[in-house]
């Protein structure tokens, strides 16, 4: 069925956006009082909350390494999707935890805290596509607020192909019916990619074009992230 659903009518997507238009983005920091750092990020109807605890002592001792261990737990709340999702860790959330961890790890200065652990919790409270990138953005903001030494903030966005058109920031319906979709994260001021995941079929030219679109969008999101952090100190 993929690619057969009419998702673009008269050059506009079902929610009225142009192909390269993002949904409304909202970012807030320090939303969880008990965490060392936290953030709330909303991409349209997708909402993620991230909280960071640590670095703290890593136990049991045999897990300790010469560098900081980063643990990420991504999870979706039961009411985040249309049909109730059974709570707890499943195959998908284990995979996405790893994906988010790998997207963040290149930016964190792991050597600063040997033998310690940093715990990052990403909760999706409402899901409408692109949850992993929304979670990554929230986690990166939360890390900065927790005072974790980082080379740069990590910014993420999604790009996809629907009805033979390349679109930015896929929502739920588009995600489910896309011909291809790509999750992309980068350190914008360093111009380095930390996550590039793709699913579907694309030509070489299309991939190049999508990376360009994604990196431009990430730079815009980067400005929003900076604004959100600075906004907390006014």
């Amino acid at each position: 069925m993929k690619g057969n659903v009419e998702l673009i009518i008269d050059g506009k997507r079902l929610d009225g956006r142009k192909p390269l238009e993002m949904r409304e983005v909202e970012m807030k920091v320090n939303v969880v009082r008990n965490a060392d750092g936290s953030a709330y990020v909303r991409f349209g109807k997708t909402i993620a909350i991230a909280a960071v605890y640590g670095p703290t002592i890593l136990l049991p001792k045999h897990l300790q390494e010469d560098k900081l261990l980063v643990k990420v737990r991504y999870s979706m709340l039961p009411f985040s999707v249309d049909e109730r999702k059974s709570p707890g860790h499943d195959r998908r959330s284990i995979e996405l935890s790893k994906v988010i961890k790998n997207a963040l790890a290149p930016a964190i200065m792991l050597d600063e805290y040997p033998r310690a652990v940093l715990k990052v919790y990403v909760e999706i409270i409402q899901a409408d596509g692109s949850t992993r990138v929304t979670g990554t953005n929230a986690a990166s903001l939360a890390l900065a607020m927790a005072g974790v030494p980082m080379k740069d903030l990590v910014t993420a966005c999604s790009v996809g192909k629907i009805n033979d058109t390349i679109v930015l920031d896929l929502n739920g319906i588009e995600d489910n019916n896309s011909q291809a979709d790509m999750a992309f994260a980068m350190m914008p001021s360093k111009n380095r990619v930390t996550l590039w995941q793709m699913d579907g079929q694309l030509t070489k030219e299309e991939i190049k074009k999508m990376i360009k679109i994604a990196s431009d969008a990430c730079k815009k999101l980067y400005d929003m992230q900076k604004k959100a952090i600075r906004g907390a100190f006014k």
Binding site: D36, A144, M145, G147, K151, S189, K234
Partner: protein, 218 residues
């Protein structure tokens, strides 16, 4: 008015032979901020003072810790860092102690708060403490307040000015540990804590001393 705030990855300046302090890293000759904080750029050093973050133990820091365990030849101390610290018997007690006869809990027991100095931090961060510093002691009574470690210098103020104001106006004794724990004991502890919390919350603004003075005079 607020101080300038930099974010991780933000370009600060060219190094030009200057020393790199905390919270920064370099790529080639360019210096970037590694943390969220306020930059401190002088002719000799570039650093960023973090606005948040956990305490990283450093040699000679005076810290406040709580005894977590009493072992045969020393004490395990929690110093509000990602690592437990160890206070060996030789550094903890001045006189000779025969460990076969004496129980070490008579000096420091589990739950006791101590003000001590960090004297050794090896690469693997097995921190060792010492009670041999002049003002190191066991903290009897009082209240412990936890703030961001990097805000302790703001609490102390230039030449100890800020802490002196709070101490005098509230008639309390305040001992700030560089690990972010502050010990308060005296008459108006509640007001002193309020002042400390104000410093923690608004450390990035100019004219903080006046604001604290106003709070204390209320």
């Amino acid at each position: 008015m607020i101080r300038k705030i930099v974010l991780p990855g933000e370009y600060l300046e060219e190094q030009r032979g200057r020393k790199l302090g905390t919270g920064v890293y370099k790529e080639g000759t360019k210096v970037f901020s590694a943390v969220l904080g306020t930059p401190k750029i002088s002719d000799t050093e570039i650093s960023v003072i973090p606005l948040a973050g956990k305490y990283i133990p450093k040699v000679n820091n005076m810290v406040i810790g709580v005894i977590k365990d009493v072992e045969i030849t020393g004490w395990v101390v929690d110093i509000n860092a990602p690592y437990m610290a160890y206070l060996p018997l030789s550094e903890g007690v001045k006189e000779f102690v025969d460990i076969k006869k004496v129980d070490l809990s008579q000096f420091y027991d589990i739950g006791d708060w101590i003000y001590c100095q960090i004297f050794k931090v090896p690469r693997n961060k097995i921190v060792q403490l010492s009670m041999k510093a002049e003002n190191a002691r066991k903290l009897e009574g009082g209240v412990i307040v936890k703030i961001t470690p990097y805000k302790i210098p703001r609490l102390i103020g230039k030449g100890g000015s800020m802490i002196k104001i709070i101490s005098e106006k509230t008639k309390t004794t305040i001992i700030p540990g560089q690990n972010g724990l502050v010990w308060v004991k005296g008459k108006d502890v509640e007001k002193a804590i309020k002042a400390i919390e104000l410093i923690e919350k608004e450390s990035y603004i100019y004219g903080l001393t006046e604001k604290v003075t106003r709070l204390l005079e209320k």
